[in-house]
């Protein structure tokens, strides 16, 4: 004869088993849902690659202190700031190559960001035309770039000039360039070239000229 106590205990255990089974089934469902959600965020198709375009690079040469024009084909994004960064990255990749005529370590990662904004206007007419008026490019270098840049008047001047002229050659609206290092203003690039003020990109002064 089964006692009343044992019957109630059996019923409670059955009910608890049913509840635990339901809870396990719910957790299994949720885990499955999470897996499906994670699967949605995985790439299902290859990222769209920006088409290759031609960019004009003004490349420095330490041997004769010259700046030479070189046309390179490279993928360029649509966003103007990212586009300017890609162009400068290519220029600095040339300088980081083992046989570079203007050796500067670092390469493309040396340019952290390039911001484009309306240039401080010189005339009232320019201040009204913000859509087509002159632009100021703010180039933010990584700290490692300034730390490892060779020190010297010629080499630092050539780096600054080639960047300013490369930006103006590809973005004619850029007439002024300002440099930051790790987001902060800096007095010189590596002890010589002045970075404390805005550089004019549209009217570059003559670069060096070799004699003999």
């Amino acid at each position: 004869m089964i006692s009343r106590f044992q019957t109630i205990l059996f019923a409670v255990l059955v009910l608890a088993s049913a509840i635990m089974g339901f809870a396990l089934w719910r957790q299994l469902e949720r885990a499955h849902q999470r897996l499906l959600a994670g699967g949605d965020s995985a790439p299902t198709q290859a990222p769209q690659v920006a088409p290759a375009e031609q960019a004009t690079l003004i490349v420095a040469n330490d041997t004769d202190g010259s700046l030479l024009t070189e046309v390179q084909s490279l993928p360029l994004p649509k966003d103007p700031g990212a586009r300017a960064r890609a162009v400068l990255g290519k220029l600095l990749d040339l300088y980081a190559a083992p046989d570079a005529a203007h050796p500067v370590p670092g390469g493309a990662p040396s340019v952290a960001q390039v911001f484009l904004m309306p240039a401080p206007s010189l005339t009232a007419a320019e201040s009204k035309s913000t859509d087509s008026g002159p632009q100021l490019a703010v180039v933010n270098f990584a700290a490692s770039f300034a730390a490892t840049h060779p020190s010297g008047i010629e080499t630092e001047t050539l780096t600054v000039l080639s960047i300013c002229e490369t930006l103006h050659a590809n973005f004619p609206r850029i007439t002024q360039v300002r440099f930051l290092v790790d987001g902060q203003p800096r007095s010189t690039l590596a002890g010589h070239a002045d970075l404390s003020h805005t550089h004019l990109a549209s009217e570059p002064l003559s670069s060096a000229e070799r004699q003999q």
């Binding site: 010297g152 002045d194 003559s206 003999q212």
Partner: protein, 224 residues
């Protein structure tokens, strides 16, 4: 009438007025960097601040031997502010100011004048652009230095740049950056620590400054 004739005769017989004394010719030598500011770490193992000081002493001796008065911005491994350097040069009322640098990059001697646009001399000049009234004379000085260095068989690169120290100087000012001499294969033929190479550069600069002084005296004499 007789008195007038007597006065005229005495005036004609009196010795001519003595020529005005020649203008003081002063050269400022500014050995770049110093103290905490070491400048470049040269491949020879030397620091740029030490090289510029030693080269400045060598050049000062050569100029002194040629009778040229020299004012230096530093005589020891001391940190001298760029504004202080310009103050020393401006107080010296110099006819030529040379800022001495050294670098491992490039070849030969690099001459840089200020990239400021030329401007007419004014009674009061802005400190940061005081050099603008002297840019044309600085370019002329760079030309004389260039000729002398070429005559000595050295490679020369001419350029213009923005250097805060030079841009505040009120004298014909040129930055002289000395790099190793390299051959066509880019290999170093004369290193920075080669005494013979240093002597060639210093002799050429001294000869150029002597010619600059001769030109200055000639120009002064030609003035009415």
């Amino acid at each position: 009438m007789l008195v007038f004739l007597w006065v005229a005769t005495v005036a004609a017989q009196s010795p001519p007025a003595p020529a005005p004394p020649p203008a003081r010719f002063v050269v400022v030598l500014d050995a770049a960097h110093g103290g905490d500011d070491t400048g470049a770490h040269l491949s020879t193992g030397q620091l740029e601040k030490a090289f510029t000081l030693a080269f400045g002493v060598r050049l000062r001796s050569l100029l002194g031997a040629r009778g040229i008065q020299v004012v230096t911005t530093r005589e020891s491994d001391a940190s001298v502010d760029l504004n202080r350097r310009a103050e020393i040069a401006n107080h010296a009322n110099a006819q030529a100011c040379l800022t001495l640098h050294a670098s491992d990059t490039g070849t030969g001697v690099h001459l840089f004048a200020s990239s400021l646009a030329p401007a007419e001399p004014a009674r009061f000049a802005a400190w940061k652009t005081a050099q603008s009234a002297f840019v044309n004379r600085s370019l002329a000085l760079a030309g004389v230095l260039n000729s002398a260095l070429l005559h000595a068989g050295l490679n020369v690169t001419l350029g213009r740049t923005e250097l805060p120290g030079i841009d505040s100087m009120t004298c014909p000012a040129v930055a002289v950056e000395i790099a190793p001499e390299r051959g066509p294969d880019h290999k170093i033929t004369s290193a920075l620590d080669d005494p013979a190479y240093q002597a060639r550069v210093a002799e050429a600069l001294a000869a150029a400054l002597l010619e600059w002084r001769t030109d200055a005296v000639r120009t002064e004499a030609a003035r009415p």
